[in-house]
Amino acid sequence: MSDGRKEKVKIQVSKSFNSLLVLDRLHFSVYENEFLVIVGPTGCGKTTLAHIIGGLYQPTEGQVTFDGEIISPKRHNLSFVFQEPSCIPWRTLWDDIKIGLEIKKSKPAAIQRRVKEMIELVQLTGFENYYPYQISGGMKQRVAIARAYATDPDLLLMDEPFGHLDAQTRYLMQIEITRVWEQLKKTVLFVTNNIEEAVFLAERIIILSRLPAHIKGIVPVDLPRPRDNISSDFLAIRSQITQMCETADEEKRG
């Protein structure tokens, strides 16, 4: 994976909350235009990790650098799709999607064009003037995704963005996200607890252990896209990762 690709984000962090160690010396990198997925059991600190990488939390030890500079949303062009519903309740879909462009002081005409594009991308045309309370959960998540894409980020962080969706919407969103990624070629760091989702999306998967989280293994996924989740190659990688997750647990017990 590192062959010729530029190291974009370098992560070397530990994090504890009071005496509770959550992230135990996590050292890894995200390469330019890479789709990197982090899998781990629920409550292993994945969300904390994503927030630290986005510069929203500070690590207890170590640092995250972006192109060699300490990462900060004020200096770097980042986006984040949050796990929880994150639509701004008093903004219409249109105004919500444009918020990043508004903060980054884009020109009105550019905002207009870009938001329209994004709304078409996530197929919310016709809902521009709706408020979050008027739309479904799946639509809200699409708004959050459109908002994250709109600013054309250099690093897109996604924290279990499909966690609250039903199976069908989730599947459609996964297809959509790979399509968008192939189109726009962004650097994506995607966090999930769903192994199948990880294999479906990732170029490379990092497996985290239970608390305190450390890296259990790194698995490249070199399957053609769109991926067939019942092909034997797919299932092989999937069971390999499942096994790695299980051994992680046994180690702990032993």
Partner: protein, 263 residues
């Protein structure tokens, strides 16, 4: 106002019925008591008509009284709003300021406006006396409501803007204030209610002979119950109407908060 639903009409109907029953009970009671201290509905109405048309013992009409009181209420309430909202926001954003001045602020909150009357008489004159007493009543509900609402701003909404590099001032303007606005508004509504409750105390010490509270005091000296009751009902009614209007505006403005979400 526009498009009252079937349920709405039903509610209005029942309220009119309740009002009618209340009058009926009052009427029966006064006939049974048969005393000048308990004027009948008819006598109260007569007093109202006379006050409205000819005015009181000094010839000041009911409308003049009402207008004077409303001006005072709005002045005191306006001053309270203008001061309480920025202060509540400031202390909500910097909780240390509040925590370190609590010992000063909190006891003041529990001193009833009436207890301030002597101080107001000594220190203030004219219109400022009215405004001060009403300000006292309206300030704290608005201040406290704003103050406690700030920490309840959803951190996700803050992070949505932070990830795009938003500065503190942007977050305050575009996330904190809109989040807190519904609580500010309900604080204002409560404050306005309390302002009306302070009007009699305020007009007790203001020098002028005008104002609904003054009207009550005037007729209290004459022990004329019908006129006193007219004054009381007027205060209740205007307070009620203002509250209703405020509530309507609130519901319209903050529809995003009132409506039930789909999921």
């Amino acid at each position: 106002m526009i498009g009252i639903s079937k349920e709405g009409w039903k509610e209005i109907g029942f309220n009119l019925l309740s009002l009618f029953i209340a009058f009926l009970i009052w009427e029966i009671f006064t006939r049974y008591m048969n005393s000048p201290y308990f004027p009948s509905v008819g006598r109260i109405w007569g007093a109202f008509a006379l006050l409205a048309k000819r005015g009181d013992v000094e010839g000041i009409t009911l409308l003049q009284h009402i207008f004077a009181s409303i001006v005072r209420i709005l002045a005191g309430f306006g001053a309270a709003t203008v001061m309480a909202i920025p202060l509540g926001l400031l202390m909500g954003l910097y909780p240390d300021i509040y925590k370190r001045t609590r010992a000063v602020l909190e006891p003041v909150r529990f001193i009833p406006p009436i207890a301030w009357i002597p101080v107001a008489i000594v220190l203030l004159v004219g219109f400022s006396r009215y405004a001060f007493l009403i300000w006292l009543g309206a300030f704290f509900p608005i201040f406290i409501n704003t103050l406690v609402s700030v920490p309840r701003v959803n951190p996700i909404h803050v992070n949505v803007t932070r990830i795009f590099g938003a500065k503190r001032w942007y977050i305050i303007r575009k996330i904190v204030i809109p989040s807190v606005a519904p609580d500010m508004a309900s604080g204002m509504r409560i404050g306005l209610g309390i302002a009306w409750m302070c009007i009699v105390a305020a007009e007790m010490i203001g020098g002028e002979m005008m104002g609904v509270g003054r009207l009550i005091l005037k007729y209290a000296e004459l022990i004329r119950m019908a006129e006193i009751i007219v004054g009381m009902l007027i205060i209740g009614l205007i307070g009620f109407l203002m509250n209703e209007i405020f509530l309507r505006v609130e519901k319209r403005l903050f529809r995003w908060r009132w409506e039930v979400s789909l999921d």
